[in-house]
């Protein structure tokens, strides 16, 4: 079972005083201290874990964020930042003795600049709202996590969110240029801006994907792109995942980078087809959706090439979208995949590993074996272009022991991903969910170096402790240098 940092009784004992102090910083309804009103904040989208925070604070200005953090730093109070709470890895799980810093009120788009192709937004703005705000001029914001209707740009920064189009257009880190950033001490920094290259160290690059452990972002400059002229999709069915995998490799080998390339295995295909009736073939082991976007002439040219490649890989179904409605229908099943699982199983757990694409048939085979071992069903949806795998483990939390079995199955899958040269998480983050698996991928030296970097931002370890790192170390302990005078590979080197 997961252990979180033990609550600090000295902090809990001062709760009333802390609430009063926070009310002086954020007036009105910005401080929530009643159990009933704090209830919505007790978990994020990893709903298996719940914890009421000590208090919820909803600041509205950068100055308030700075004052809250400074106060907490001075008084040794832990802080958990939160965007929309859509994290699948528990990144926003509160702490019993912690302030839950909700950024929902930072919901304004401050500037749109089409000539410089940027938008300056506050972190509580939803991902989709950025695209919507620039759509009238034919622009959009490229990263499109499937939670984009709800998830916020601030959360996207914390998790370095991806989406189905990130093979071609990159993840959040490739699409942000600057931010206003508040350190735990309350110091406010401006990093980057409308220009493309960092001045000095690329601190924005470190903050992106840092899961709220380094500071709090209060303003973000994102790149906006002109929408492609058109997009068309192919629906391809294969008798084996090997054939589907070969098709993906051959498409890329032919020099084609599709806007999106998604795969589903048989259990996933059947579940979604029953739910959505997208017209998916049911007699196949693997389904591929390949979307090409760009200038119309290019898309029409490449779609023929992809179709030819698919046929050379023995595709039994090959349909090209001939209208926008048809393209959306192809996607409808894939987009409803998680909801479809909810229909066929009381509960499901969504995993998120990345593997080298070529290992897919092996990983799927091993996963079927693990499914037998753990006695639980699994369905797979897969961002095939970039190797990001989302196994959905089906279980029933009301059956004693099933949650634990599902978690054990999930851990085995992620270990398998690392074993074949992949990683623990492609886009959902480590959070609490994969925290204890970090040593599968990193040595203690690797983790110590990452934690030293954390200390450079947060010397007291007050920001989102208990997430990402399996063991917490004090900064002073990590900072100690061990000078190695012993065995030398070069005994002839001069000694002074």
């Amino acid at each position: 079972m997961l252990t979180m940092p033990a609550p600090d009784d000295r902090v809990l004992a001062r709760r009333d005083k802390i609430v009063t102090a926070l009310r002086a910083i954020v007036p009105g309804e910005g401080v929530i201290a009643s159990e009933r009103e704090m209830k919505p904040y007790e978990s994020d989208a990893l709903t298996a874990y719940r914890q009421l925070p000590m208090v919820v604070v909803l600041p509205e200005t950068t100055a308030q964020v700075a004052a809250v953090l400074r106060y907490c730093h001075e008084n040794d109070i832990r802080v958990v930042p939160r965007g929309a709470g859509t994290s699948l890895s528990g990144g926003a799980l509160p702490l019993e003795d912690g302030v839950l810093l909700g950024m929902a009120k930072f919901n304004r788009i401050r500037e749109i600049d089409f000539e410089n192709r940027i938008a300056v937004v506050e972190p509580g703005v939803t991902n989709l709202a950025v695209s919507n705000a620039v759509a009238h001029a034919g622009f959009y914001y490229a990263p499109d996590p499937s939670s984009q209707i709800a998830c916020t740009i601030g959360g996207n920064i914390a998790e370095n969110s991806g989406g189905v189009h990130c093979l071609k257009y990159g993840m959040t880190t490739n699409n942000v240029l600057g931010c206003k950033f508040v350190l735990m001490t309350g110091e406010i920094l401006e990093l980057g801006g409308p220009h493309l290259d960092a001045d000095g160290y690329d601190l924005l690059g470190i903050i992106t994907g840092s899961e709220g452990l380094l500071g709090v972002v209060t303003e973000i400059t994102v790149r906006i792109l002109r929408k492609p002229e058109t997009a068309r999709a192919l629906l391809l069915g294969f008798a084996s995942s090997e054939d589907a995998g070969e098709c993906v490799s051959k498409i890329i080998g032919a020099g084609i980078i599709p806007g999106g390339m998604e795969m589903m295995d048989r259990p996933a295909i059947h579940a979604v087809e029953e739910f959505v009736r997208a017209g998916y073939p049911l007699d196949v082991e693997a389904l591929l959706i390949v979307e090409l976007d760009g200038p119309r002439v290019e898309v029409d040219h490449l779609i023929e090439r992809v179709e030819a490649i698919a046929k050379s890989c023995r595709a039994s179904t090959a349909r090209k979208s001939n209208s926008e409605a048809e393209r959306l229908l192809f996607w409808a099943g894939r987009k409803a995949a998680f909801a479809a699982m909810g229909r066929i199983s009381p509960d499901y757990m969504c995993m998120d590993g990345t593997i080298p694409r070529g290992k897919l048939p092996f990983v799927l085979k091993r996963m079927r074996e693990l499914s037998e071992v753990h006695g639980l069903r699994v369905a797979n949806v897969f961002h095939a272009g970039d190797g990001n795998l989302h196994p959905l483990i089906l279980y029933d939390a009301n059956q004693p022991g099933e949650l634990e079995r599902a978690e054990a199955f999930g851990a085995d899958i992620l270990k398998l991903c690392v074993e074949v040269g992949g990683v623990l998480t492609g886009e959902h983050g480590v959070g609490i969910e994969k925290r204890d698996l970090m040593p599968e991928m990193f040595s203690q030296t690797d983790l110590d170096q990452q934690q030293r970097l954390k200390c450079a931002f947060d010397d007291k370890g007050l920001l989102n402790p208990g997430k990402v790192f399996p063991t917490l170390h004090r900064c002073a302990e990590l900072g100690r240098m061990h000078v190695h005078h012993g065995q030398m590979a070069f005994p002839d080197l001069p000694r002074f």
């Binding site: 000539e115 994907g209 002109r226 170096q449 590979a489 080197l493």
Partner: protein, 408 residues
């Protein structure tokens, strides 16, 4: 300066860094030495030469991934990936000629440590965006790794971003993994002549705001345009837009982008060969080459919001008699300043900062680089945080001491 053996393995690098820590020595970290003159002059006791750490250790074209030891010549990597129809999409620049070194001498580690990206940066991203993983030795003498060999990875902090552009001041990279991408089937360039700088910024904004996938946008003012391509007419500014892709797409976009460009002046087209020559010259800043007519001038690189490029350029050329040109749709201003005691800093840096950008001194005599800040000076909380980040990797200042900032 003591002779330090050339490391042959990552373990050698670790031993040498540990030796330096124990002996209180500082190391100059060098890949193959082609960019050694960028930065403040090293305050080092010995040189750690990584050219012995060479070789491509993994290349899987269909997985779009390549791993190599950090001292591997970039040229070797580019040759190999080209043989499979691929390239490094960030278009790594070769500053050899600019710095008075032969072309093609750089290492992959050096390209990544400097985050050096070419004209395609506006479409495909920078070196940082194609840098997937590394292992290396910190200034604490610890061997550690970050990232991996897959593109989509959010496991732990993304230390690749921090290494890119840190110029060897945090850790010595020993092995790196990068993303490769298919090379375009063909390319062509549309040019419009005679635009003033400000009009050119608008033309480039219109092109970049179109749906025609422009992969290079540069403006070459009248005084200098002809030095990029000999058949440009004398005394005419040139604004250039590159199109890459499959043949039918490029053909089509020559027409559609041409229609966008027409609002600014009659468009002309450069064929594939001339297009390649032009963008190579822009990428490598060839008109400012060390052996050319402007070779004695200090050279600055200014990063700024694209539409403010002309304003920076105007201040530099009017007040400082600098020669300038613009890449990245105006967002990258290159300036060659008349030689002076401050390399033109008094003109360039305020111009960059007034426009919200920043300036880096890329070429200047060593005596000047010892006095004039090469990288933008930092203050306050940002300087303190930068210092703490440095300390978290290299607490005793063993690696590239003073290269980025004095006493750092």
């Amino acid at each position: 300066m003591p002779e330090v053996p050339k490391p042959r393995s990552a373990a050698d690098v670790e031993a040498l860094v540990r030796w330096a820590i124990a002996e209180h020595k500082s190391l100059e970290v060098v890949g193959r030495g082609s960019k050694r003159s960028i930065g403040r002059p090293a305050q080092s006791d010995a040189t750690l030469d990584l050219s012995g750490l060479s070789g491509i250790t993994l290349y899987e074209p269909e997985e779009l991934v390549l791993s190599a030891r950090a001292g591997t010549p970039l040229a070797d990597i580019e040759t190999l990936v080209a043989s499979r129809g691929q390239e490094l999409a960030f278009e790594p620049a070769d500053y050899g000629p600019l710095l008075g070194v032969r072309a093609g001498q750089g290492s992959i580690g050096g390209v990544l440590a400097g985050n050096l990206s070419g004209p395609r940066r506006i479409k495909a991203g920078a070196a940082r965006d194609h840098f997937l993983g590394f292992s290396g030795v910190s200034g604490r003498g610890d061997t550690f790794k970050s990232g991996g060999r897959v593109v989509k990875n959010v496991t732990g902090y993304d230390l690749c971003k921090l290494m890119a552009g840190s110029w060897g001041t945090l850790a010595v990279m020993t092995d790196v993994t990068i993303k490769t991408l298919p090379k375009s089937e063909t390319e062509a360039t549309i040019v419009v002549q005679g635009l003033a700088d400000a009009a050119a910024m608008s033309a480039m904004a219109a092109a970049m705001g179109s749906a025609y996938d422009v992969s290079g946008a540069a403006h070459l003012p009248a005084r200098i345009a002809r030095q990029f391509l000999a058949d440009f007419p004398a005394g005419q500014a040139v604004t250039a837009f590159r199109l890459e892709g499959v043949e039918p797409s490029v053909k089509h976009r020559i027409q559609t982008l041409g229609a966008v460009a027409k609002a600014f002046g009659p468009p002309a087209m450069l064929d594939t060969a001339r297009s390649r020559t032009l963008w190579r010259a822009i990428r490598d800043v060839l008109p400012f080459a060390a052996h050319g007519p402007l070779g004695a001038r200090p050279v600055w690189r200014v990063s700024v919001a694209p539409m403010r490029g002309a304003e920076v350029g105007h201040m530099i050329s009017a007040a400082g008699s600098g020669e300038i040109f613009y890449d990245w749709a105006g967002g990258l201003v290159w300036a060659a300043m008349p030689p002076s005691d401050d390399a033109g800093e008094a003109v360039v840096r305020p111009a960059a900062e007034a426009a919200g950008g920043h300036a880096t001194l890329i070429r200047a005599p060593v005596a000047i680089r010892a006095i004039v800040p090469v990288f933008g000076p930092q203050e306050g909380a940002l300087a303190a945080l930068t210092g703490r980040v440095k300390d978290s990797f290299d607490p005793t200042g063993v690696l590239n001491r003073g290269r980025m900032w004095a006493g750092f």
